[in-house]
């Protein structure tokens, strides 16, 4: 019994970050109709900024860890926003709705940015000191307080995004554009501006995930790549462009990883995820919650 609780807790721990990451990816797809293979670089950039800033502020200046993490978090979001802005204006702007063009652009960015990170940061993994030390036991499942906080923050951000998409004017525009871009434009929604907002929100979500993840895992310059592959699986399962789908898909993948990894073998669990995707696409090509495309 305790074991099941532990495995469920593991699912939530893993899933919370997957959801954040996949939400950004699915939002960008929905609004811009592009498959962004460079999404992982936003995640990586945020994690790298967090470790770099904290190394400087904690080790050199001696700031309190929690304060320096807050600064690092904000810096990470800012840096990613700047990167997002630059790649949008000098790149994605020109390939909106062009599936093949945007795909290759994102691949180019992936190579360029990952190479740059490696030169700036080096190949050595780094980790930051515990922001909130200590462990906690919930219903017999143990986890670090840090992970618990991470889950809560991720849940709040997810909820915030859900409200943004479903309750605000910007959210309405985002959904309208995702649904039918031409109809949205006819109703006077400025498509390009909405696309930019969608892209920046997506990038920021990845940055949040990266900055949170830096507290619990060693950071390398390719850390985002593992998440990217999983996130693709998640958004296929959830349906491209579906917010709720990304949330459910993220939790489902985390569930498979947690339980499959326990009862079978982690690399078998990975294989199982891919097989699941292929089966799902055969049965229901538009994903669990995706709209059928005509």
């Amino acid at each position: 019994m305790e074991l099941q609780v532990q495995l469920l807790m593991n699912t939530l721990q893993i899933g919370s970050v997957y959801v954040l990451f996949a939400l950004g990816l699915t939002l960008i797809f929905g609004v811009m109709k592009i498959v962004n293979f460079a999404h992982g670089t936003f995640f990586t950039a945020a994690a790298l900024v967090v470790t770099s800033v904290m190394m400087w502020s904690v080790d050199t200046i001696g700031m309190p860890i929690w304060f320096s993490y807050l600064i690092a978090f904000v810096m990470a979001l800012l840096v990613v926003c700047v990167i997002g802005f630059v790649v949008y204006f000098f790149g994605f702007k020109y390939v909106l709705k062009d599936l093949n063009g945007s795909f290759i652009l994102s691949i180019g960015l992936l190579l360029l940015l990952n190479g740059t990170y490696l030169i700036l940061y080096g190949g050595v993994p780094r980790s930051i000191p515990a922001v909130i030390p200590g462990n906690i036991t919930i219903l017999g499942a143990s986890l670090t307080i840090q992970r618990l906080v991470l889950m809560i923050v991720a849940a709040i951000i997810t909820l915030g995004l859900y409200i943004l998409v479903h309750r605000t004017k910007l959210g309405l525009s985002l959904r309208a554009v995702a649904e039918d871009q031409e109809a949205a434009m006819l109703q006077g929604i400025p498509y390009r501006r909405v696309a930019l907002y969608g892209f920046l929100i997506g990038a920021t979500l990845a940055a949040c995930a990266g900055a949170l993840m830096a507290t619990v895992t060693p950071v390398t310059t390719v850390i985002g790549d593992d998440f990217l592959v999983k996130a693709f699986i998640i958004i296929i399962i959830g349906g491209l462009g579906s917010v709720l789908g990304a949330i459910l898909g993220g939790l489902l993948i985390a569930l498979i990883e947690s339980f499959g990894g326990y009862y079978f073998d982690p690399s078998t669990a990975t294989l199982a995820m891919f097989v699941l995707v292929v089966i799902l696409l055969i049965v229901r090509p538009q994903g669990i919650l995706g709209h059928a495309e005509k």
């Binding site: 599936l99 360029l112 296929i236 491209l240």
Partner: protein
């Protein structure tokens, strides 16, 4: 036919030249580079072949790997003769691709892209978990027979060139026209009695058979293969060749593959800078030269023609 198509005649001359170079040059490195150029061109051309029906097929990488593994198994485990091992590659790749296409080509656009990506990863994971295939260490020992060893580069180049010309012929035939029609608006061919799904599968099978053969040649060229050689990145590079050379004509990917392969050779000791260079060249080509080099050529030609007409 050749008289009316000087470009084709030139290409045939280049291919013959490359084969002669492989036969008579004493420099193994540059012969090897020529093989890489042809192999990469073939990869890019097969990727573009599926682009004719409008689908970006990441599984090009998977079928390349399936071809290579088939040849490796046939030659090292089953001990089949050289040419039969080589020919097994396209056969198996073709058979598997027909199943893959039958299942997946009901989807299109981003869905097909992502499913082909997932398939590529699945196939690669299966290699890593199969001990008979050497797991992650891969397979070694695919050598051409001793008596053919000296001629192998020429044989490899001939096969790869044949693939290029074969796909060119397929594209020029009515079949190629039908594929383009499907990409343009698949409702029209469907409304006049064409089996669109069947034709899409056919397109994928032709491309996969071809790329399977490229995989077989790759196995013999490298003598060693491993799962990490067949990640989705193979298709990504092929797409880079297509985009830089230009998608509009079959020589586009060939030119793209030639330029980038040669450039890559000189970047080989650049470490992380190599990725930055590739990234920059891909982005630059996409944004600054949207039609690729071929597109530039066409625009230049159109410009000069207009200039003449203006006079």
């Amino acid at each position: 036919m050749l008289k009316s198509n000087p470009g084709l005649a030139l290409c045939i001359l280049i291919a013959i030249g490359a084969i002669c170079f492989a036969l008579f040059s004493g420099d193994p490195y540059y012969v090897q580079v020529v093989i890489w150029v042809f192999a990469n061109a073939a990869l890019a051309v097969t990727l573009r072949f599926v682009l004719l029906i409008g689908e970006l097929n990441i599984a090009t990488a998977a079928f390349f790997g399936i071809g290579a593994y088939t040849t490796a198994v046939a030659s090292t485990i089953l001990g089949w003769p050289f040419f039969i091992s080589l020919l097994a590659a396209p056969v198996i790749a073709g058979v598997i691709s027909s199943l893959f296409g039958w299942i997946t080509l009901r989807t299109k656009g981003p869905y097909f892209l992502l499913i082909s990506f997932a398939f590529t990863e699945i196939v690669r994971l299966i290699y890593t978990k199969t001990e008979a295939l050497g797991g992650n260490s891969g397979m070694i020992g695919m050598f051409p027979p001793m008596e053919l060893d000296a001629y192998f580069p020429a044989i490899a180049i001939s096969i790869l060139a044949a693939i290029l010309f074969g796909l060119y012929a397929a594209e020029r035939s009515n079949l190629g026209r039908v594929f383009k029609a499907i990409k343009n608006n698949e409702d029209i061919p469907r409304s006049v009695g064409l089996n669109v799904i069947g034709l899409k599968i056919l397109c994928l099978v032709i491309a996969s058979t071809a790329v399977g053969l490229v995989g077989g040649v790759h196995a013999y060229t490298n003598s060693v293969i491993a799962p990490a050689d067949f990640t989705y990145f193979v298709a990504v590079l092929a797409l880079a060749y297509v985009k830089i050379g230009g998608e509009g004509h079959i020589v586009g990917p060939i030119i793209g593959a030639t330029i980038l392969t040669l450039a890559g050779q000189f970047l080989h000791s650049f470490g992380p800078y190599e990725n930055i260079f590739y990234g920059a060249i891909i982005i630059g080509a996409l944004l600054l030269v949207p039609g690729g080099i071929v597109g530039l050529g066409v625009r230049f030609k159109a410009g000069t023609l207009m200039g003449r007409a203006g006079r």
